[in-house]
């Protein structure tokens, strides 16, 4: 009886704008859709993985109460946008060891409805005086966007990467968003459009930055044995690992290399494959530079050659390595932590349910989450078949 981990259900809540849902309702709706997709019920769930943003600090325990769960396995590790990728290694170990039978992953947020669109350029609000590590950033006017801009400038200075290269990433993702009826922005983009959009923090333009949206996602992992008699063909979790290098941007050791080097090497080792075997990538694209760094650090091209690689069109629809086939966070949906959505989209592709966005002969997908400020990188490799 195989206890190898498989993903058997996926669900998304309403996005990109859903003023009728709060964060808990996003989780409930995505969970219901994932359960219905799989043929399981809430009573089957005995494990739960959920991370709470600082904006919803008790979301994980509130969700457990809201759904009436009694998880015998629980993981609430928070690493920002890569939280799901950091929870998966422990989840698949728990499945294999029999510490859980069926684990629900869920995330949801009413980010856009609650905060509006200016998150990336606003300072974090501080009650009373500023203290802790942000003392060394905030008095200088640092924002989320500036942190990524610092990495982009460094990459350009070291390797000759150009704004056009970064823009190409946004253009390719937008093409997929055009095929997703729910995506926030669907009008086709050109490189010139990106470069003509307002500069936020050099070298990042407005269209180098992700959207701010509402949204939630859920997926369900169980054993291969249990997955056999459910509604969907199961998707195998072949490799999963996470690695970190810092938390605040001021402590990033090398601004043009992320911990994705370590997380991907371990995930490839587990899966017994290499980057050349991957058919599609679902990458955290909080900013265009995020995707470029992940691309290099996951070995799809050499360090410093990401710009040229992107320019060759590999990430586009019909390319050798289509990226963010749902429109990503650059054009479709970003509600705070997108790691869960990277998995749901990879599963959709591996099932062959991608519709107009379907990657042909999609057998292996790689999802890479990025949490904090390029700080915590998690890599998950999923396969249509067991290897």
């Amino acid at each position: 009886m195989s206890r190898e981990p498989v993903i058997v259900g996926i669900g998304l809540s309403d996005y990109p704008k859903a003023p009728h849902l709060d964060s808990l309702m996003h989780i409930a709706q995505a969970t219901k859709r994932a359960l219905d997709d799989s043929g399981l019920t809430l009573n089957d769930i005995d494990g739960f993985a959920c991370a709470s943003m600082p904006t919803d600090p008790e979301l994980h325990v509130e969700a457990i109460e809201h759904l009436g769960l009694k998880p015998r396995w629980l993981n609430t590790t928070y690493t920002g946008g890569s939280a799901a990728q950091f929870q998966i290694p422990d989840a698949i170990a728990a499945i294999r060891e029999g510490r859980a039978e069926t684990i629900l992953f869920a995330y949801g947020s009413d980010f856009l409805t609650r905060y509006g669109r200016t998150l990336g350029t606003g300072g974090l609000s501080v009650d009373g005086g500023l203290s802790g590590p942000l003392l060394y950033e905030q008095p200088y006017g640092s924002t989320i966007a500036t942190c990524y801009a610092l990495a982009a400038t460094r990459h350009m200075a070291e390797y000759g990467t150009r704004p056009e290269h970064l823009a190409e990433i946004a253009v390719g993702v937008r093409e997929f968003a055009g095929l997703n009826p729910n995506a926030m922005y669907r009008e086709p983009l050109t490189v010139e459009d990106v470069l003509a959009s307002p500069m936020i923090a050099d070298p990042l333009h407005l269209l180098d930055c992700c959207v701010v949206s509402d949204g939630g996602a859920a997926f369900i992992i169980t054993t291969e044995e249990r997955g056999r008699d459910l509604k969907q063909s199961p998707v195998h979790v072949l490799g999963a690992a996470g690695a970190n290098s810092h938390w605040h941007i001021h402590s990033m050791p090398d601004f043009s290399t992320t911990a994705g080097v370590a997380s991907s090497q371990e995930a490839y080792r587990q899966a017994g494959i290499g980057p050349e075997d991957i058919d599609t990538i679902q990458f955290y694209d909080s900013f265009t530079i995020t995707a470029l760094l992940l691309l290099e650090d996951h070995g799809f091209c050499k360090k410093g050659e990401g710009g040229g690689f992107v320019e060759e069109g590999h990430l586009r629809r019909g390319g050798s390595l289509p990226m963010n086939t749902d429109g990503g966070s650059l054009s479709s949906c970003h509600s705070g932590m997108r790691g869960t959505m990277l998995i749901t989209e990879a599963v959709r592709q591996l099932r062959g349910h991608g519709g107009d966005s379907q990657v042909p002969d999609c057998e292996l997908a790689l999802a890479a989450g990025c949490g904090g400020l390029l700080s915590y990188i998690g890599t998950t490799i999923l396969g249509r078949d067991r290897r």
Binding site: L135, Y136, G141, S142, T146, M199, A201
Partner: protein, 142 residues
Amino acid sequence: MEVIDNRPWDRGPLDPGPIDREYFEAAAQGRLIIQKCEDCGNTQFPPKALCVSCGQVPDWIEASGKGKIYTFTVVRRHGVEPFSSLAPFVLAMIDIPEGARFMGNITGIDPETTQVGQNVEAYALRIDETLALPLWRSTQST
């Protein structure tokens, strides 16, 4: 480093804890300090309770205040004052030869011609009687 006393502090209240306070107090006395571990020689910034290399309690050393731009951005949009009025301004990471990296603003420089690798030096803006915030200015003739 020079401490500028006559500019009103408008970057919000700071309430540093015990270790952080030593850094901002030194800045108010015109000294840029970083931590150095006597046991293993590791230098580190921002300050921490322990040496991240060996776990011992680190000491402080004074840096020369000279540095180079490791990377930078020109902030064009900011949602919070005083930064929205200051924009466009340069936000950079500065490497110092003593072995530490700082975030800071660089003043006295044209944002449009700022380059990675440019030489800068530290100065400080007074916050109150006991604390000051280090900033950086260009030492390159343009």
